[in-house]
Protein backbone atom coordinates (compact mmCIF):
# COMPACT_ATOMS: atom_id res chain seq x y z
CA UNK A 1 0.00 0.00 0.00
CA UNK A 2 1.33 3.45 -0.89
CA UNK A 3 0.65 6.82 0.75
CA UNK A 4 -2.37 7.48 -1.45
CA UNK A 5 -3.86 4.12 -0.46
CA UNK A 6 -3.37 4.93 3.22
CA UNK A 7 -5.09 8.29 2.92
CA UNK A 8 -7.99 6.69 1.04
CA UNK A 9 -8.43 4.15 3.84
CA UNK A 10 -7.85 6.41 6.85
CA UNK A 11 -11.51 6.58 7.82
CA UNK A 12 -12.02 2.84 7.56
CA UNK A 13 -8.81 2.27 9.51
CA UNK A 14 -9.58 4.55 12.44
CA UNK A 15 -13.15 3.22 12.55
CA UNK A 16 -11.80 -0.34 12.74
CA UNK A 17 -13.63 -1.29 9.56
CA UNK A 18 -10.70 -2.54 7.49
CA UNK A 19 -10.40 -6.22 6.71
CA UNK A 20 -7.38 -7.79 8.42
CA UNK A 21 -5.15 -8.12 5.32
CA UNK A 22 -5.71 -4.48 4.35
CA UNK A 23 -5.19 -3.38 7.96
CA UNK A 24 -1.91 -5.25 8.18
CA UNK A 25 -0.76 -3.82 4.87
CA UNK A 26 -1.60 -0.30 6.02
CA UNK A 27 0.19 -0.79 9.32
CA UNK A 28 3.29 -2.10 7.53
CA UNK A 29 3.31 1.15 5.56
CA UNK A 30 2.93 3.19 8.75
CA UNK A 31 5.99 1.48 10.23
CA UNK A 32 8.25 3.28 7.78
CA UNK A 33 6.26 6.33 6.70
CA UNK A 34 6.39 9.18 9.21
CA UNK A 35 4.13 11.46 7.16
CA UNK A 36 1.29 8.95 6.94
CA UNK A 37 1.73 8.23 10.64
CA UNK A 38 1.29 11.91 11.35
CA UNK A 39 -1.84 12.19 9.22
CA UNK A 40 -3.42 9.05 10.71
CA UNK A 41 -2.78 10.18 14.29
CA UNK A 42 -3.94 13.73 13.65
CA UNK A 43 -7.07 12.58 11.84
CA UNK A 44 -7.91 10.25 14.70
CA UNK A 45 -7.37 13.08 17.17
CA UNK A 46 -9.56 15.38 15.08
CA UNK A 47 -12.43 12.89 15.30
CA UNK A 48 -11.91 12.39 19.02
CA UNK A 49 -11.88 16.11 19.77
CA UNK A 50 -15.23 16.62 18.06
CA UNK A 51 -16.67 13.38 19.41
CA UNK A 52 -15.87 14.47 22.94
CA UNK A 53 -17.52 17.83 22.57
CA UNK A 54 -20.31 18.11 25.06
CA UNK A 55 -23.91 18.96 24.19
CA UNK A 56 -24.51 22.64 24.58
CA UNK A 57 -26.76 23.93 27.30
CA UNK A 58 -29.90 25.42 25.83
CA UNK A 59 -30.14 29.16 26.32
CA UNK A 60 -32.97 29.78 28.81
CA UNK A 61 -35.21 31.65 26.38
CA UNK A 62 -34.81 28.94 23.72
CA UNK A 63 -35.78 26.28 26.23
CA UNK A 64 -38.80 28.31 27.35
CA UNK A 65 -40.04 28.77 23.79
CA UNK A 66 -39.61 25.06 23.09
CA UNK A 67 -41.56 24.03 26.17
CA UNK A 68 -44.29 26.62 25.53
CA UNK A 69 -44.75 25.25 22.02
CA UNK A 70 -44.75 21.73 23.37
CA UNK A 71 -47.37 22.51 25.99
CA UNK A 72 -49.60 24.05 23.32
CA UNK A 73 -49.20 20.92 21.23
CA UNK A 74 -49.88 18.59 24.14
CA UNK A 75 -53.00 20.52 25.15
CA UNK A 76 -54.31 20.40 21.54
CA UNK A 77 -53.97 16.65 21.72
CA UNK A 78 -55.71 16.52 25.09
CA UNK A 79 -58.78 18.44 23.86
Amino acid sequence: MNCKGVIREISNYIDGELELPAKQELERHLEHCGECNLVVNQTRLTVEIFCDSKPIELPGEVKSRLHDALRRKLSERGN
Binding site: E35, T43, I56, R77
Partner: protein, 229 residues
Protein backbone atom coordinates in the same frame (compact mmCIF):
# COMPACT_ATOMS: atom_id res chain seq x y z
CA UNK B 1 -22.89 37.44 13.20
CA UNK B 2 -25.47 35.17 14.66
CA UNK B 3 -22.94 32.40 15.08
CA UNK B 4 -20.50 34.74 16.75
CA UNK B 5 -23.17 35.81 19.21
CA UNK B 6 -24.03 32.22 19.87
CA UNK B 7 -20.43 31.32 20.59
CA UNK B 8 -19.97 34.22 22.97
CA UNK B 9 -23.15 33.37 24.81
CA UNK B 10 -22.12 29.76 25.29
CA UNK B 11 -18.58 30.63 26.18
CA UNK B 12 -19.80 32.57 29.17
CA UNK B 13 -22.11 29.93 30.46
CA UNK B 14 -20.56 26.52 30.19
CA UNK B 15 -17.49 24.38 29.82
CA UNK B 16 -17.54 23.00 26.29
CA UNK B 17 -15.16 20.18 25.74
CA UNK B 18 -13.98 17.34 27.85
CA UNK B 19 -10.56 15.78 28.04
CA UNK B 20 -9.36 13.83 25.07
CA UNK B 21 -8.27 10.27 24.73
CA UNK B 22 -4.60 9.68 24.09
CA UNK B 23 -3.69 9.15 20.46
CA UNK B 24 -3.20 5.46 20.87
CA UNK B 25 -6.55 4.79 22.55
CA UNK B 26 -9.02 2.65 20.64
CA UNK B 27 -11.73 4.69 19.02
CA UNK B 28 -14.65 4.54 21.44
CA UNK B 29 -17.59 5.41 19.24
CA UNK B 30 -17.90 3.18 16.27
CA UNK B 31 -21.10 1.39 17.16
CA UNK B 32 -24.63 2.54 16.40
CA UNK B 33 -25.76 5.39 18.53
CA UNK B 34 -25.35 4.58 22.21
CA UNK B 35 -26.53 7.81 23.75
CA UNK B 36 -30.01 6.56 24.52
CA UNK B 37 -30.52 5.33 28.07
CA UNK B 38 -31.88 1.91 28.83
CA UNK B 39 -35.29 3.18 29.93
CA UNK B 40 -35.89 5.11 26.73
CA UNK B 41 -38.21 2.45 25.33
CA UNK B 42 -40.36 2.60 28.49
CA UNK B 43 -40.79 6.35 28.14
CA UNK B 44 -41.60 6.00 24.46
CA UNK B 45 -44.16 3.29 25.15
CA UNK B 46 -45.79 5.47 27.84
CA UNK B 47 -45.79 8.50 25.53
CA UNK B 48 -47.41 6.43 22.81
CA UNK B 49 -50.16 5.55 25.27
CA UNK B 50 -50.76 9.27 25.80
CA UNK B 51 -48.60 9.96 28.84
CA UNK B 52 -47.54 13.55 28.17
CA UNK B 53 -45.11 13.60 31.10
CA UNK B 54 -43.21 10.74 29.51
CA UNK B 55 -42.87 12.70 26.29
CA UNK B 56 -41.75 15.79 28.20
CA UNK B 57 -39.09 13.70 29.87
CA UNK B 58 -37.84 12.60 26.43
CA UNK B 59 -37.68 16.26 25.39
CA UNK B 60 -35.78 17.22 28.53
CA UNK B 61 -33.39 14.39 27.94
CA UNK B 62 -32.54 15.16 24.33
CA UNK B 63 -33.19 18.88 23.80
CA UNK B 64 -29.56 19.94 24.27
CA UNK B 65 -28.27 17.24 21.93
CA UNK B 66 -30.84 18.07 19.29
CA UNK B 67 -30.03 21.77 19.56
CA UNK B 68 -26.34 21.02 19.12
CA UNK B 69 -27.20 18.95 16.05
CA UNK B 70 -29.39 21.58 14.40
CA UNK B 71 -26.89 24.31 15.27
CA UNK B 72 -24.03 22.30 13.83
CA UNK B 73 -25.92 21.70 10.60
CA UNK B 74 -27.47 25.11 10.05
CA UNK B 75 -24.78 27.29 11.69
CA UNK B 76 -27.56 29.77 12.31
CA UNK B 77 -29.12 30.29 15.70
CA UNK B 78 -32.63 31.12 14.52
CA UNK B 79 -32.79 28.21 12.09
CA UNK B 80 -31.36 25.86 14.71
CA UNK B 81 -34.07 26.78 17.19
CA UNK B 82 -36.86 26.45 14.62
CA UNK B 83 -35.53 23.11 13.40
CA UNK B 84 -35.23 21.77 16.94
CA UNK B 85 -38.71 22.91 17.89
CA UNK B 86 -40.30 21.47 14.75
CA UNK B 87 -38.40 18.21 15.22
CA UNK B 88 -39.87 17.69 18.67
CA UNK B 89 -43.37 18.72 17.62
CA UNK B 90 -43.28 16.45 14.57
CA UNK B 91 -41.92 13.56 16.56
CA UNK B 92 -44.86 13.97 18.92
CA UNK B 93 -47.37 14.16 16.08
CA UNK B 94 -45.93 11.04 14.44
CA UNK B 95 -45.17 9.08 17.57
CA UNK B 96 -47.83 6.53 16.71
CA UNK B 97 -45.91 5.74 13.49
CA UNK B 98 -42.63 5.16 15.29
CA UNK B 99 -41.71 1.49 15.24
CA UNK B 100 -39.86 0.57 18.37
CA UNK B 101 -37.44 -1.71 16.59
CA UNK B 102 -35.01 1.22 16.42
CA UNK B 103 -34.01 3.79 19.00
CA UNK B 104 -36.25 6.79 19.52
CA UNK B 105 -33.17 9.03 19.70
CA UNK B 106 -31.95 7.88 16.29
CA UNK B 107 -35.42 8.46 14.85
CA UNK B 108 -35.51 11.92 16.44
CA UNK B 109 -32.05 12.75 15.08
CA UNK B 110 -33.25 11.81 11.61
CA UNK B 111 -36.25 14.16 11.90
CA UNK B 112 -34.10 16.97 13.32
CA UNK B 113 -31.42 16.54 10.66
CA UNK B 114 -34.05 16.80 7.95
CA UNK B 115 -35.57 19.91 9.52
CA UNK B 116 -32.12 21.48 9.74
CA UNK B 117 -31.21 20.47 6.17
CA UNK B 118 -34.43 21.95 4.85
CA UNK B 119 -33.54 25.31 6.40
CA UNK B 120 -29.95 25.09 5.23
CA UNK B 121 -31.09 24.45 1.66
CA UNK B 122 -33.42 27.44 1.85
CA UNK B 123 -30.58 29.71 2.90
CA UNK B 124 -28.05 28.26 0.49
CA UNK B 125 -30.08 26.94 -2.43
CA UNK B 126 -27.18 26.65 -4.87
CA UNK B 127 -24.43 25.66 -2.51
CA UNK B 128 -25.57 22.43 -1.06
CA UNK B 129 -26.38 19.05 -2.53
CA UNK B 130 -25.91 15.65 -1.00
CA UNK B 131 -26.82 13.99 -4.28
CA UNK B 132 -23.79 15.08 -6.27
CA UNK B 133 -21.16 12.38 -6.63
CA UNK B 134 -17.63 13.20 -5.54
CA UNK B 135 -15.25 12.75 -8.43
CA UNK B 136 -11.75 11.29 -8.02
CA UNK B 137 -9.48 11.42 -5.02
CA UNK B 138 -6.77 13.77 -6.23
CA UNK B 139 -7.76 16.33 -3.64
CA UNK B 140 -7.35 13.94 -0.75
CA UNK B 141 -3.60 14.13 -0.25
CA UNK B 142 -2.82 16.28 2.80
CA UNK B 143 -0.91 19.44 2.03
CA UNK B 144 -0.01 20.63 5.49
CA UNK B 145 2.06 18.23 7.54
CA UNK B 146 3.37 19.62 10.78
CA UNK B 147 3.87 18.17 14.22
CA UNK B 148 1.15 19.11 16.72
CA UNK B 149 3.27 18.10 19.68
CA UNK B 150 1.91 16.14 22.64
CA UNK B 151 -1.71 16.89 23.66
CA UNK B 152 -2.19 19.96 21.45
CA UNK B 153 -5.76 20.30 22.69
CA UNK B 154 -4.52 20.95 26.22
CA UNK B 155 -2.69 24.07 25.14
CA UNK B 156 -6.00 25.84 24.81
CA UNK B 157 -8.56 26.87 27.41
CA UNK B 158 -11.96 25.24 27.00
CA UNK B 159 -13.64 28.35 25.69
CA UNK B 160 -10.79 28.97 23.27
CA UNK B 161 -10.99 25.37 22.10
CA UNK B 162 -14.69 25.72 21.57
CA UNK B 163 -14.15 28.77 19.39
CA UNK B 164 -11.54 26.91 17.36
CA UNK B 165 -13.84 23.93 16.75
CA UNK B 166 -16.79 26.15 15.98
CA UNK B 167 -14.72 28.14 13.53
CA UNK B 168 -13.30 25.16 11.65
CA UNK B 169 -16.60 23.31 11.37
CA UNK B 170 -18.26 26.52 10.21
CA UNK B 171 -15.84 26.64 7.27
CA UNK B 172 -16.50 23.07 6.20
CA UNK B 173 -18.74 22.68 3.14
CA UNK B 174 -22.31 21.83 4.24
CA UNK B 175 -22.53 18.44 2.51
CA UNK B 176 -19.37 17.29 4.30
CA UNK B 177 -20.35 18.97 7.55
CA UNK B 178 -23.74 17.27 7.77
CA UNK B 179 -22.23 13.81 7.38
CA UNK B 180 -19.44 14.56 9.85
CA UNK B 181 -21.87 15.91 12.45
CA UNK B 182 -24.18 12.89 12.29
CA UNK B 183 -21.36 10.39 12.22
CA UNK B 184 -18.69 11.82 14.51
CA UNK B 185 -20.53 14.23 16.80
CA UNK B 186 -23.91 12.51 17.17
CA UNK B 187 -22.29 9.09 16.86
CA UNK B 188 -24.71 7.57 14.40
CA UNK B 189 -23.43 4.53 12.55
CA UNK B 190 -22.65 4.74 8.84
CA UNK B 191 -25.91 2.93 8.09
CA UNK B 192 -27.94 5.24 10.34
CA UNK B 193 -26.32 8.29 8.76
CA UNK B 194 -27.07 7.01 5.27
CA UNK B 195 -30.67 6.35 6.21
CA UNK B 196 -31.07 9.73 7.90
CA UNK B 197 -29.78 11.60 4.86
CA UNK B 198 -31.24 9.35 2.20
CA UNK B 199 -27.88 8.71 0.57
CA UNK B 200 -25.85 5.56 -0.02
CA UNK B 201 -23.32 4.10 2.39
CA UNK B 202 -20.42 4.75 -0.05
CA UNK B 203 -21.58 8.38 -0.30
CA UNK B 204 -21.48 8.69 3.51
CA UNK B 205 -18.02 7.14 3.66
CA UNK B 206 -16.66 9.30 0.91
CA UNK B 207 -17.96 12.52 2.46
CA UNK B 208 -16.86 11.49 5.93
CA UNK B 209 -13.30 10.82 4.76
CA UNK B 210 -13.10 14.22 3.10
CA UNK B 211 -14.67 15.97 6.07
CA UNK B 212 -12.20 14.44 8.49
CA UNK B 213 -9.19 15.24 6.30
CA UNK B 214 -10.34 18.80 5.75
CA UNK B 215 -10.96 19.35 9.46
CA UNK B 216 -7.51 17.93 10.27
CA UNK B 217 -5.98 20.39 7.87
CA UNK B 218 -7.95 23.30 9.31
CA UNK B 219 -7.03 22.30 12.87
CA UNK B 220 -3.40 22.07 11.79
CA UNK B 221 -3.32 25.85 11.54
CA UNK B 222 -4.14 26.11 15.23
CA UNK B 223 -2.41 23.06 16.62
CA UNK B 224 0.96 23.09 14.86
CA UNK B 225 3.73 23.72 17.33
CA UNK B 226 4.65 27.36 17.54
CA UNK B 227 2.01 28.10 14.95
CA UNK B 228 -0.16 31.15 14.90
CA UNK B 229 -3.53 31.41 13.22
Amino acid sequence: MLCATFIQLKARTEPQFGLLYPLSAPNPHRLPSTVARDDEHLLVAAAKRGDTHAFEELVNRYEAKIYRLTMNITRNREDAEDAMQDAFLKSYSHLKDFQQDSRFYTWLVRIAANEALMRLRKRRPNQFSLDEPIEGDEDLMPRELEDWGPSPEQRFAQTEMHEILSSVIDKLEPDFRVVFVLRDVEELSTEETAKALGISIPAVKSRLLRARLKLREKLNRYFRQGGTN
